[in-house]
């Protein structure tokens, strides 16, 4: 396929990724945070598919599929499922920075990522401008995700921050190099377990400890014996 066209498509998708990060920074409703994350992950899956069409590396197609299953389907489903049981559906308080200030800090983060990557990575790895852009946005997304984690109070929105960071790392790996597929699969598995655990802990904070242990027991029903 036309490489130039592909480049333009990917650039467009990357802009949407940045917009989704901006939405996660500013929105207060937990539902819209999860939706923004879901869309961001879908965009990443699209990017992987377009990159596959460009260079034909089958790992990218596998990566798109794994992202679709784990990040677009399983993780959002699980978070929504627990979220329904938590009374509080809005994360209204932000620590340290207002949403507008956080957007400005995010722009500064992107500049920082650009400067630091252009000094070290671009020269050494001989990345083209296009691949450099992808890696730069990946690093920015990772740092923005970290910022979200610092600013948010509720565990679920912190978890979305962590997931944004993880999406940033995925983006870097897509544009800098493809790790062996088995490693990518294991990382996704690890991520799913981590998120399930974090969200269960969030459930535990908002409920009684008995309900939390019951939920933990339901999640891994074999962990818990029948009540005598």
């Amino acid at each position: 396929m036309n490489f130039l066209l592909m480049e333009h498509v990917i650039k467009l998708l990357l802009i949407f990724v940045i917009i989704s990060a901006a939405i996660i920074i500013t929105r207060r409703g937990l539902g819209s945070l999860v939706l923004a994350y879901q869309i961001q992950s879908l965009l990443l899956a699209f990017i992987a598919v377009v990159l596959f069409l460009t260079d034909g590396n089958i790992i990218l197609l596998g990566l798109a599929l794994v992202t679709l299953i784990s990040k677009v389907m399983i993780i959002p489903y699980f978070i929504r499922n627990i979220q329904r049981r938590i009374q509080n559906v809005r994360d209204t308080e932000f620590s340290y920075l207002t949403p507008i200030a956080a957007i400005f800090v995010s722009i500064a983060i992107m500049l920082l990522a650009y400067v630091s990557l252009s000094r070290i990575v671009a020269n050494q790895l001989a990345l083209s401008k296009f691949f450099f852009l992808g890696a730069m946005i990946g690093l920015s997304l990772t740092l923005i995700g970290n910022l979200i984690m610092f600013r948010r109070r509720m565990v679920i929105s912190k978890t979305i921050g962590y997931l944004t960071m993880e999406n940033g790392v995925l983006l870097i790996s897509m544009f800098v190099t493809e790790l062996p597929f088995i490693i990518e699969i294991l990382i996704m598995l690890d991520l799913v377990i981590l998120i399930v655990l974090a969200v269960l802990l969030a459930f535990g904070i908002d409920n009684t400890i008995e309900e939390f242990h019951k939920k933990l027991g339901q999640f891994a029903f074999w962990f818990k014996d029948e009540e005598p």
Binding site: I120, M149, M165, I183, L197, I205, H213, F223, K224
Partner: protein, 485 residues
Amino acid sequence: MIIAYIGIGLCILLLLFAFKSHKMMYFLSIMHSLSYLALTVWILNNLKLPIVYSPSSYFYMDYLSIFEVMIASIIFLCAAIYSRGYLKSLITIQELKKENLKLFYIPFNLLLTVTAVSFFINNLALFWIFAELTTLFSVVLIVVLNAKKNIDAALKYLFVSSTSMLFSFIGLIFLFALTKSTLGKGTLNWTVLMESAKLLPPVFLNAAFVFIFIGFAAKAGIFPFHTWLPHAHSRAPSVVSGILSGVLLNIGIYGIIRMNAVLHQSAELSFGMQYFLIFFGVVTIAVSSFCMLRRNNLKKLIAFSSIEHMGFLLVGIGIWSPVALFLVLIHIISHSLIKSLMFFSAGILHRQYHSNNVNFIINAFKLQPFASAMLIIGTIAIIGLPPFALFISKLLILQQLADISHWLLFAILVFMLIAAYAIVSFLVKIFTGEKKDAKINQYITPFTMKLPLIALIIMALLIGLFMPDWLKDWLLTIVNEIMRI
């Protein structure tokens, strides 16, 4: 051989699903760690190491990995023996529900398997995944108690550790890309990285190392990524705290040692990176020693002491001479033994007073003479007094540091004195807290809770007083292996 470790772990797991009695789960946990210990001893005596497992070369066994697995097996064995009496007591006072016992024993055994296997991994990305898994299973062990504060501590642990580990992963991606562009084929296998480090551009290797360091530093509780540690270690059940401090912190240090070894094979050794590690080590010691002052919580104090020791290990790794590395290894094993001993002793005191707060611990010598004595002996060891091996490792690492900077040596000595003062003054408060009219029922400590403490103290004393030749040879082999002498 690694299959044997995984196989034993899976068998024990299946049996744990099948059995429901506490006695059986307890027995299986002991058998699990005992079989790992036996297997490790057998490998050490019968196999010629290192072994790289083909075709993917994802797994690897050398004397350092066997050393770490040996420590993990010993600490897990002691924890498993200790667990029954401790958990029974938790159930009696309803801090733990009886039906949640599986929620303890399954992650406990999974953690042992995952920890042991992680030390046999050659591939850094796979090691990263297993290091993450150890965090996840230990988080479950922290939240098993009926206390909401434990959930807070577990969340902090999960987020700080996993977030830092993501930065590590960025470093691994860059390292993979670097090997791909330099060697023609991307790799994260430690054995290949050691061989080809000379070909990799040092500046870029250093940059990747800085990213990788963030994650492993968080696992080891190094400043400024240490914030999770005091909460997690103090809120966890004491049997788990002993494992967190005695085994899991070693995973972070192990990762740093492996990466630093690659860095030192590089064409141009950057002294900046040496100072980078020493700097973080010294700052970690400084912060932890000041945090130890005016503490009221016994387990938190011990947790901060763990941070201090991790800082000290980082200084030793930063020096990176054969002698320093030899001493780092002695420090690792001694710290693991003593720190588990201290957490297990604190656990007995907690069973007595149902609190770790200094104000609640009264008539300790009268009510719990064994745990009190063990805590005092542990303190003597942990502050670096003879006849324990920590005295030797601290003294000689400081001597090595004197070759680099007298000022740093002086600073660390001051911080160590502050830490020693903090821990000793805390103990003075505990053991002088006497109330003649206080009516507290004595908690009868079961022998199974005393036995691991006796074993730990004997091992720590043996290493300090008569370092056996086989251990000395083993450690020297590790040094030669890692430094490629």
